[in-house]
Amino acid sequence: MLLPISEPKLPATWQADALARLMPGETVLAALELDLDARLQFARGLLLLTPCRLLACSPDLSWQEWPLAAGLTLRHSDHAGVGSLELVDTSGRLAHWRYTLSQNLAALRLISEFERHVEALLTGQPPATPEEEVCATCKAPLPPGEDECPICARELHEAPSTWTLFRLWRFAKPYRWQLVSGFALMTGATAATLVPPYLTMPLMDKVLIPYQNGQPLNTALEIKLLAGLFGAALLSWSLGWAKTYILALVSERISADLRTTTYEHLIKLSLEYFGGKRTGDLMARIGSESDRISVFLSMHALDFITDVLMIAMTTVILFSINPWLALVTLLPLPLIMWMIHTVRDRLRTGFEKIDRVWGEVTNILADTIPGIRVVKAFAQEKRETQRFREANAHNLAVNDRINKTWSLFSPTVTLLTEIGLLVVWAFGIWQVSKNDITVGVLVAFLAYIGRFYTRLDSMSRIVSVTQKAAAGAKRIFDILDHVSSVPEPVKPVPLPSVQGSIQMREIGFRYGNRSVIRNLSLDIKPGEMIGLVGHSGSGKSTLVNLICRFYDVSEGAIMIDGVDIRSVAIADFRRNIGLVLQEPFLFFGTIAENIAYGKPDATRAEIIAAARAAHAHEFILRLPQGYDSIVGERGQGLSGGERQRVSIARALLIDPAILIMDEATSAVDTETEKEIQRALDNLVQGRTTIAIAHRLSTLRKADRLVVMDRGQIVEVGNHDELMAAEGAYWRLYQAQLRNAEQNLLEGGE
């Protein structure tokens, strides 16, 4: 019987070959392109599943096949990025294949199809059709009316484009009218600066030279020309002031917007992103890189545009005075342009490198300063200094290398300038001697190109600053382009009042290439309290992170009240979750602010009620400023138990339907634990609760205990049932009991 599932796409290279193998009417249920051979060399192979057999093509193009039969199973495992698939029957292994995890989703699909069909052979029933439309890759139910799973379609593999600086336009757009007026002022100011050299012509030819030749001084003309020079200077001063002011304001605003947008985006990214980045690097990107862009826009880019305007205007003026002399004057220009172009690439890579090395230096600071107690306790100050010195030396070496190119660059431009002037002098004198031009024209030319070439020199600097700014912009856009791996749904499903049922359906999660949660299913009823038990590293905290949607599951789905949590807006979803962590984090601010963190508009009465319920009220009143006491990094120190109760009050205040406690009491002593436990008992009432606890005694109130081991559930039941079963829970319990007795004995002696 055919299934209502769309035919999987065969890899294009295999299409013809594979189809030739099929019998008429035989359809392909699932295909897996193998990219490794048995000895783990990169090679292409193919595995095909049809309703009656499994076909495999090895890299040397030999085909093998196994008819589907009862008792066949496909075993799947992965290690270090390599997936392994074994076909076994009851007596032994028939075949095995390897592939890299890029093919994992196809492999999982093949396995589930295989299992469905073998199961059908066993029962004699037609293969069970999947209950509902699910995504072929992640098993998440598809949103109604959509074929493509939005979660699977998001994987991002493209590099951001290199024209990064132009992307800043997105931030410049709101200020376009200020920018236009700034440019108008700039054009005016530049034109005004070009007037004085022009006036030197009549000053020379009509005032000075006639006087030197014995004629009386033309005072009227002289005064007129001098007044013109003064007027031009004044005009250029006022226009220049206005343009610089306006454009500096705009560029400052652009970079402020850039900074805020980047931060806003950054803080929405998943924990996965923060796990992979270093704090120092992120801080540098948002802080100094955006500042560098601001400086670039307000100073360097502005200067550059002014220069281009000036060169264009000068060129026009020079040609209008004397085309031949103008041509000679402008001759070195292409040469300089070519030089700038060739150096550009080398400098850009160099500056990117400097940035990364600089990040390395700050990373060392970010590592050692928070860990200073460890450094001092193990007396490793010298080693850390050495590490810093090495990073600095690396920084120095990279800078030295780029400075070699850079230092040669500027003097060469200056040399070319001098040569250019020399050419103009020589050609000019020759033309004066032939009476083609007057002395005034030559002087005006020299005055023009004196400015002109100095601008070229400073223009050449634009290369480096542009590259620096582009590198900075790239690093910022790297953040902005990063799509959260916990994406907001396109069309969020509204989540009204939550009852608190949680359903985990065959979920899997891998961190890097390590599979942390495997094929886990669990139903939690509203109001139920679940205790998660297991060795450390058994995946308890990961499971909780998945429920909070700090990460998204790699396979399967988590539903809250029957709704996939990925289809709900993240903020909507998290509003229903109260989280109490092992190490409560208090922000810098008052206690009241910290309690009201999840509900900033809470009234004082609400805050105090929450604090009372959390058994925090009394100790808060004992503080000198009560609820207004400052806590957090630099504030008043609270003990671990007190901090924990503040964080419980925080969770209580938002009145969540689901409560998650991750080792909430393990960091405190037994006495404080009792206090906290009483606070927690208040918190648990009427809420779905998931509690992780190392001390099994703290979970005595749990309706069900879930014992986890290596990412899977091994036992479920209440304390008495699990004790009677004498399984994993019983062993854990016995071990703790022995420990407790031991402690008691040692304490008694």
Binding site: L40, F42, A80, G81, S102, T162, T349, E352, K474
Partner: protein, 159 residues
């Protein structure tokens, strides 16, 4: 070096292709997997045989001390588990900004992979570079200076 040490266990392969370890007490551990303690810095020293439950059932100080037939079994099993292609040449990178697709020659053939970010390139002591791709496969560059000029130039843009 010293003569092969007598190990106090034996190994065999069952019909399912798994390694079976029979320890000094005659207990059979089905499906043991050999694991190198220092796969990069000292691959031939310190190999543990782990049971399916993740417990260590035997420890081998030096692979060379193990009798040849046993060693062959262990090495065979290791070769089907260990996957850290050594990059010998970079042919092409799609862009210098990440994520970037790299086409490389490795000791296991030609491959391409996606580098998610520059921080996925890690320096290990001894000048070894480990490059993790988007799926968590580790590619290794044992010696940066041993690469050809073209590869070094490409790689340099990411370091």
């Amino acid at each position: 070096m010293s003569a092969p040490l007598n190990v106090n266990f034996s190994l065999e392969r069952n019909a399912f292709g798994q390694l079976v370890l029979i320890d000094a007490n005659g207990i059979r551990h089905e499906g043991v997997t050999p694991v190198r303690a220092n796969p990069i810095s000292a691959p031939l020293e310190g190999i543990a045989l782990m049971s399916t439950e993740g417990h260590e059932v035997a420890w081998i100080e030096l692979l060379a001390w193990v009798p040849a037939p046993l060693r062959a079994l262990i090495e065979e099993e290791l070769s089907t588990r260990e996957f850290m292609p050594e990059i010998q040449r970079l042919n092409k990178v799609s862009s210098f900004a990440t994520p970037s697709t790299w086409e490389v020659e490795t000791d296991r053939g030609t491959a391409s992979f996606v580098l998610k970010g520059e921080e996925d390139i890690r320096r290990l002591p001894g000048g070894i570079l480990l490059i993790a791709d988007a799926h968590g496969i580790q590619f290794m560059i044992r010696q940066l200076s041993a690469l050809d000029r073209h590869s070094r130039k490409l790689l340099d843009r990411f370091l």
